[in-house]
Symmetry: C2
Subunit: 310 residues, 2 copies
């Protein structure tokens, strides 16, 4: 019997690892999966959303698709709308202190997120939270206790902080609280896994550290790649104009998908569709051997993408 739990955990792991960049630590996730199967208790998979980008594009869905996979494997997804953290803004990867959002702006953005997100996620297996639920109740003493669990030096190791510090660009003292707040969300939720793009690695590991500091089982950090835009060079981003928005009309999605660089076809299949990996590998081989016209693969890709959102 014990062996079959393990086998089932390994089967789940194989699916979970599709497209993933890094799992820290992999063995711990395997143990969590096995325990979850044995005790018939779904894992709590966390994703934090900073409500600053109401227009979701395919780049954002890479992580959402992975969450959907967890749901299909029987696990529970917890989305944290950072209504509280949004008031300071996540400085991750930004070279400047981000403008603080008003409560109204945050609520509008959160609603837009909700509308768009259930095109990918299973609403039944998704639990939404606003982190003001717990962060809004914290006193100054609670904040000091939280802040005392991390050192300035370790915080300054975060790429963007380090860069700004070296360049003499201002970092508000409040910004050091952001990773701690995101980490505390994991404590409040008792998350088993936190997911994010590779740019979130630092924050996810802070969460892992904090769970341990608060005497809880540490979360596993699971990083997905940052999706390249339709140009195949830079990351997909609204401001670079190389994006496909999830609310775009089918004909727009079709046109944009058909325009992508051929190198991206299999990567988009892997990260944006549920087409099984062996089929994708088969297409890759056929295209390499010129037995398949990339145009046909793109057409299938476009249809897969469109059917997800329309």
């Amino acid at each position: 019997m014990a062996l079959s739990f393990k086998q089932e955990a390994e089967r789940q792991m194989e699916q979970i690892e599709r497209g993933v960049v890094e799992i820290i630590p992999r063995e711990e996730l395997l143990r969590k999966l096995e325990k979850s199967i044995k005790e018939k208790k779904p894992l709590r998979i966390k994703l934090g959303l900073d409500p600053t980008a109401p227009d979701i594009h395919l780049g954002h869905t890479v992580v959402l698709n992975k969450l959907r996979q967890f749901q299909d494997l029987g696990h529970e997804v917890h989305l944290i709308i950072g209504d509280f953290t949004g008031r300071i803004g996540d400085p991750s990867g930004k070279s400047e202190t981000r403008k603080q959002l008003s409560e109204d702006e945050i609520m509008i953005n959160a609603r837009t997120y909700q509308e768009q997100i259930y095109k990918v996620l299973d609403r039944e297996k998704t639990i939404m939270h606003f982190n003001s639920e717990w962060l809004g109740r914290m006193t100054f003493i609670d904040v000091l206790q939280l802040a005392g669990k991390y050192t300035v030096a370790r915080m300054m190791e975060r790429d963007d902080f380090e860069k700004r510090f070296k360049e003499g660009l201002p970092i508000g003292v409040h910004e050091l609280m952001y990773p701690l707040m995101q980490g505390y969300d994991s404590v409040a939720l008792e998350a088993d896994v936190e997911m994010g793009g590779t740019d979130q690695k630092f924050n996810l590991l802070v969460g892992r550290h904090l769970l341990r500091e608060y005497g809880l089982e540490p979360q596993v950090a699971l990083m997905m790649p940052i999706l390249e835009g339709t140009d195949g060079i830079q990351k997909m981003s609204k401001s670079l104009g190389n994006y496909i928005g999830v609310s775009e009309e089918p004909y727009e999605m079709f046109g944009k998908t058909m325009s992508i660089n051929d190198r991206l076809i299999c990567r988009y299949f892997e990260l944006l569709t549920r087409v099984p990996m062996p089929e994708i590998e088969e297409m890759r081989t056929k295209m390499e051997k010129r037995e398949m016209n990339p145009r046909d693969a793109k057409m299938r890709l476009a249809i897969e993408i469109i059917s997800t959102f329309h």
Copy 2:
């Protein structure tokens, strides 16, 4: 009439400047004094006390004597017992993260302070506060707003932080909050002047900055010297054993005062007694000319000190 306000302000300034190391900025204090005299409104002079050292020695009274002078000039002294800040401890000048105090320890220390402090201060013109009054009511949002008013880089300029950072010694993120909390005390009080030893310069200037940030008239920072101990070499400190405690018996005070290095006599007179400066200068001259035996000057000093505390 305007001239006489100014003259009176200058007369006060002359007394205030006795023994002072630095006033930032001097002209602003002069203007505040003039306004205070004109409007018959006492200045609010602030001193923060971190309740970690219940046994006050003469080193601590240098600042207390200056406060007493302000009181004698008609001003109001506000003592802030850092019951709230004491829970994290002031890392100023310390090479390590200081142990957090329990609420019980803080209350015992605060009571001891009160007993000892009124030997120098005029109880009628002293207002005591516990900074938990305002800091204890702050929410996480309030804390973030406060933290947002200062940058990490400027905070790391503080000598001890810079040193610890360079040496790879840990600085808790919560410790960056300490100068901001002390500064916020000034905001809550609307302090006109904050006093401290030269080791407090950074914190006093943070307070000045915060008052301005909160739309209030900035406080003036007034720094007193750190008193040398009876050995005349290192600063007076209990752990170095070169101190005279304010609760010591008269015969002990006498013996210790008689044992001080001759170089210290006039400095102790200036900083620890109310003997007028011209008299002190006269003694200095006489001793230099060997017209006065230092032993006699010390005897007078001992009597002055003993009569303050007994």
